[in-house]
């Protein structure tokens, strides 16, 4: 089955091409085509994953270009991580396709929407299958394009346009780092192949400093794509896109690309202590930083967006703490519960037509299905025992502790507390208490939207059991099978970590319940008590403003200078040349007055000059 893996990305590509050409005529039928083709992708991905359990890594490559002695190859590879990612991406994509059928119902550009979804899914699946860095980079950029198109889908909204541009430009900044890292790596190793790169690294062919430099540059790419600090600001803004897009791109796939990149190049990163430390610090900082912003946001999707940023920080922290399995495991569970949360949020938005949680409330009784599903997602992300998020977060905390990052460990614990708090704040604000907005004709979403959520809810509960300290670490053992560089399948940690993790998440839930559920504690004790801190949090640490003041202003000033040079120097020279020519021609045109007598005079003078000249020289020119 694995030799047929190349066909997986082709289904969504086919969907994209077909819908671009025939979409206008098909209209609503386009949805079925998109759903069917991604379903086919998912089935094959599943078969590939099953086949991968029983057989070794499969890799097929052909020569793409020959440049001098060097041959660029292109192909596909199915290793453990790829096979797992294929299933996650195609499953979430399929469910989002299905969900969009209901959510985007009645939208005039639904065929375009499905076409873009197809393009994006194609790019992501292609990225996952790539066996070399160059191919990864190509799909990496295609993923960026897909997200740009989808975020800007409501292009008639100024915010959406700005958000799409912002996402594209911010991720491009990271991509430059990745590109330079890639070139350096090629210069050092002479190949883009992952296998050869890792072989060169383990053989010590590259100097320590060079590895650190390359690893950090590649990590910058991951920072851009995965919304890590300081390139995270595009991700919350990207919520301007349709909600299913948020679920697909900004929860499960695209932002996971950065984590995936770090994971798939893990042996390279693991060779540099500095790079690992940087990743861990950035990850932990992002986790707590984004979580603290998430506490005060008032837009349902923005809370989820900051929670995504924070969870991606957890994954990076795990990878940076040599917790390869923990990072990938959390990537998987997060994909499921975050997609579930986004789809449920979309269902809420679909029902109440607002994203402001201040205008929601008391929806539990109205949304009989969405409510419990949202609760499952919330419990999972908060790390409540027995749900998937609990196991993966525990794994991350254990990895961090065992690796010796004590301070980062406690940061992560606090971030976990924040996570539980803001997620339940969101839940209580939306689903309990009095209805604060117009909720008269709130209706549950149609079945086509509910079914994907149900599937994701099952996974959000159950996906954790593939890797638990109690029943066996199947996922971890399988992921690290036959590859020493990835570390051990299971990291043994002290038992109290699990207790602490459970305690902080329950504490967060309790605090949220007291403030927003039971209202024993006044809602504004924090915002009224320390308004400065609240203001900073509500304004997202003024990062956007800071960028506007420094980078945007700086670039604008620089462009002004260039504009000045352009106008004065370049155009000045050009205008001078043109002026001389036109002045000369004006002078010449004076002679052509139409006055026959003037012509006669000139002709006669000319003759006279000639005669005098020849008289003086004697008729000979020297």
């Amino acid at each position: 089955m694995m030799e047929n893996a190349w066909i997986i990305p082709l289904f969504p590509l086919l969907s994209f091409l077909f819908l671009i050409v025939f979409g206008k005529r098909l209209r609503a039928v386009s949805a079925y085509i998109g759903i069917f083709l991604t379903f086919a992708s998912f089935i094959i991905s599943l078969l590939v994953l099953i086949a991968r359990f029983g057989s070794p890594t499969y890799k097929a490559e052909g020569i793409w270009l020959t440049i001098g002695d060097y041959q660029l190859t292109a192909g596909y590879e199915v290793n453990q991580l790829n096979a797992l990612m294929l299933v996650i991406v195609s499953l979430v994509s399929f469910l989002v396709h299905m969900y969009s059928k209901g959510y985007m119902h009645g939208d005039g550009r639904i065929s375009v929407f499905y076409a873009y979804l197809g393009l994006f899914t194609f790019a992501m699946l292609g990225l996952v299958l790539s066996p070399n860095l160059l191919q990864t980079y190509i799909f990496w950029e295609l993923v960026g394009l897909g997200s740009f198109l989808l975020i800007g889908f409501y292009f008639y909204k100024e915010e959406a346009k700005a958000a799409a541009k912002k996402a594209f430009i911010m991720t491009r900044i990271g991509d430059v780092g990745l590109f330079i890292g890639m070139i350096l790596l090629f210069w050092q190793v002479g190949s883009f192949e992952y296998d050869e790169i890792f072989a060169a690294v383990s053989a010590g062919m590259i100097s320590e400093q060079m590895i650190t430099l390359i690893a950090l540059l590649i990590f910058i790419g991951a920072v851009g794509k995965s919304g890590q600090f300081p390139l995270h600001t595009w991700l919350p803004d990207a919520m301007e896109g349709p909600t299913p897009v948020s679920a697909l791109i900004h929860a499960a796939t695209m932002v996971a690309a950065g984590v995936y990149l770090v994971a798939s190049m893990f042996p390279l990163f693991a060779a540099s202590e500095t790079a690992m430390m940087t990743i861990a610090i950035i990850g932990a900082f992002t986790a707590i930083f984004a979580a603290s912003i998430g506490i005060v946001q008032k837009d349902i999707k923005r809370v989820l967006a900051y929670s995504t940023v924070s969870q991606l920080g957890f994954m990076m922290l795990a990878l940076g703490s040599a917790g390869y399995v923990a990072g990938v495991f959390h990537l998987m569970t997060h994909a499921f519960f975050k997609a579930l949360l986004f789809l449920a949020a979309g269902s809420v938005i679909h029902a109440v037509h607002t994203q402001d949680i201040e205008k929601m409330g008391g929806l539990w009784k109205k949304l009989r299905v969405t409510g419990p599903l949202f609760l499952i997602g919330t419990l999972a992300i908060s790390g409540v025992p027995l749900l998937s998020g609990f196991f993966s977060k525990d794994e991350i905390l254990v990895s961090t502790w065992v690796h010796g990052h004590t301070f980062l460990f406690w940061l992560a614990v606090v971030a976990a507390f924040f996570t539980a708090f803001y997620m339940f704040r969101l839940f209580f604000m939306v689903f309990t208490g009095e209805a604060r907005g117009k909720t008269a004709n709130v209706k549950e979403s149609p079945g086509v939207m509910v079914i994907p959520m149900l599937i994701l809810a099952v996974l959000a509960i159950g996906a954790g059991y593939v890797n638990t300290p109690w029943f066996g670490t199947f996922l971890g053992d399988w992921l690290t099978e036959g590859n020493q560089a990835l570390g051990h399948g299971h990291v043994e940690g002290p038992a109290w970590i699990m207790v602490v993790a459970t305690a902080v998440s329950l504490l967060g839930i309790l605090l949220a319940w007291l403030m927003y559920g039971k209202k024993t504690i006044a809602r504004d004790w924090f915002s009224a008590g320390v308004p400065t801190v609240y203001g900073i949090l509500a304004n997202k640490y003024y990062i956007d403003e800071f960028y506007k003041m420094t980078i945007v202003k700086g670039t604008t000033a620089f462009s002004r200078i260039l504009h000045f040079i352009e106008v004065i120097v370049v155009e000045g020279i050009m205008k001078m040349v043109a002026g001389i020519i036109s002045g000369l021609s004006k002078l010449g045109s004076r002679f052509q007055s139409g006055q026959v007598q003037t012509y006669g005079t000139v002709a006669f003078l000319g003759l006279a000059i000639l005669v005098i000249f020849f008289a003086v020289t004697g008729g000979y020119l020297k």
Partner: protein, 104 residues
């Protein structure tokens, strides 16, 4: 009889030619310009006749050419005047400054 030297004839012709040239280049009235041109032609005729009588190889050819030139000049003057009349009908003027259509 032959006391008048050739240089006198040539000087007369030069003077006449210069007067004609000056008139042709400066006068505003087109009729005067035409007359000035006749003057220049006749200066040439004087040269021709002078050389046919007093030149290095005297011959009757010069005088014949002078006659030809007079005939051609008459025809030319007729054509010139005809053009002038046509112009005058168009422009209601004989002022040469106004005839500047060569510019375009």
């Amino acid at each position: 009889m032959s006391t008048v030297p050739i240089s006198a004839y040539l000087t007369l012709a030069l003077v006449l030619f210069c007067i004609g040239l000056f008139g042709a280049l400066t006068k505003r009235n087109t009729v005067i310009v035409l007359i000035s041109i006749e003057l220049m032609l006749n200066a040439v005729n004087i040269n021709l006749v002078a050389f046919s009588k007093l030149g290095m190889a005297p011959s009757i050819d010069g005088q014949v050419f002078a006659l030809f030139a007079i005939a051609v000049a008459a025809a030319e003057a007729a054509v010139g005047l005809a053009i002038l009349i046509a112009l005058y009908r168009n422009r209601k003027s004989v002022n040469i400054d106004e005839f500047n259509t060569l510019k375009n």
